[in-house]
Subunit: 287 residues, 2 copies
């Protein structure tokens, strides 16, 4: 087609994709063209606005490093990541709900003995985390399920954001026992801001939003014959539960991190300061 | 809102933008969320597909340098740039149609005397370019209009793509005389591929498209009291007129680059080889 205009350009571009060999790629790119053109027709950007959008996306790409993924953060803060999550996790009764993976997961950690304290030398209020992993529906305990847990420190940073740390901290991998139980020690998490010194932070400020996430512990749990569960458990009472910067909160994932007096912990350890417990069971969807 | 799900997330994100102080920014970001969520609901990306999209956009951003703008190229090859162009140039009778600026414009060149050969030492078939600039509607000639012209060489490269060149080549700035006329010398342009060694090239190959643009000369023409015109003139007969990789062709911008025998040119210059003429008038929209 050699006479492109406002009325025919979308069909012309889609026509040009007609020979795409992979039908799924064809669907994805064709849908992109249709929805992107709809968006442009809807807001009618001026040439200067379009150029600002190009510059913005370029800065997002150039802010990414091997330690920071600004496009994931943009997807998170526009609610796209949670929508993708929801679409991919239409769950049966008894299955724990999912939420965003976030940019701070580290794969391939070594397995730790039950009861290990993943806080290492990092200070904070002691937190005992324990629970049971079950198959959703039947409620059968899952022995040998693998649990990755990770969280931020009292300043809101994950270990991968602290270049001075050479070992994993506030993250660990555990395995459930014959009855499906696991437990470990950590510290009580706090709410924290997402990294807001880049283009996503600029968007957050320009739209008068705040950058905070409510306090949470991340979990990734996998077991044979089941879909891997990616979720958080959020702390009841956190002031940001209603306005998580990445829209990740679900009612069923909010839990009381129960305050305890000094005394004996469930694993027999004597605790001399105030501490908390997070007791939570998980249900995995059979595949 | 603390119980985000597939049905309510779009409204939850839009609600979060409610306090955006700039109403135009609010419209642009709200529209982005609505259309982006529609797209995700339409194609239902798997988590792996969403991650591939994140990786792709990251590579596009990281391919950009001060000499290369891969996001503009992506916008061009998805027809978005031409759609933005069309929306911003609903033109009156007599006005020359517009097309994409492209990534190779250089601002602030010094003005050259009429008849200068902008090819410098670059070899090619001589091309005489001449015409008249008028006000659309009345047809009054515009004296003192400023014309920027630029084009690629016989290998398909612009000067800014050749690091060994230290001076502008195949680009120049001219001014119309009292009767609105201008003329200069160059070489006959050829069709050429867009830069296809990056993520946009990968998209072009995966969708079985070709990366070629039909032969053209770029023009940017500005005159007091008129909108600046950004356009190309395309060569009649080029095999890629019907399938320009960036959807930039309009019928009214196709012109014969007329073949001439050795002899006398319109400006009195004697040409000893075969040469061509591009004679073309331009109409500018009054502001």
């Amino acid at each position: 087609m050699r006479d492109i205009n406002e009325a025919n350009i979308t069909d012309a571009v889609i026509q040009r994709l007609a020979d795409t060999p992979d039908p799924r790629l064809k669907q994805i790119v064709t849908g992109l063209v249709r929805h992107l053109h709809d968006y442009v027709r809807d807001v009618e950007p001026s040439f200067e606005e379009w150029q600002l959008a190009i510059d913005y996306l370029t800065r997002v790409g150039q802010t990414c490093t091997d330690k920071r993924q600004e496009f994931i953060l943009l997807s998170d803060t526009l609610g796209v990541s949670m929508l993708v999550d929801a679409i991919n996790h239409r769950l049966p009764e008894g299955a724990t709900e999912t939420t965003v993976l976030g940019p701070f997961f580290v794969a391939g950690l070594p397995e730790l003995p039950p009861g290990t304290n993943i806080a290492g030398n990092i200070s904070g209020e002691p937190l005992f985390v324990g629970g049971k992993v079950m198959s959703a529906g039947t409620g059968h305990p899952l022995a040998g399920a693998v649990i990755d847990a990770w969280q931020s420190d009292d300043d809101g940073y994950y270990d991968v954001q602290r270049p001075e740390l050479t070992e994993p901290a506030l993250r660990g991998r555990f395995r459930t026992d014959a009855k499906g139980y696991f437990h470990f020690w950590s510290i009580t998490p706090h709410s924290y801001p997402i990294p807001d010194d880049g283009p996503v932070g600029a968007m957050i400020r320009a739209t008068k939003r705040h950058p905070y996430r409510p306090a949470h512990v991340h979990f990734m749990i996998s077991a044979e014959g089941h879909e891997t569960l990616v979720t958080h458990i959020f702390a009841e009472g956190d002031p940001y539960l209603d306005s998580d910067a990445v829209f990740g909160v679900k009612d069923s994932l909010i839990q009381t991190f129960a305050a305890r007096e000094p005394g004996m912990a469930p694993d027999g350890r004597a605790v001399t300061t105030a501490w908390r417990t997070l007791e939570r069971d998980f249900g995995l969807k059979p595949t």
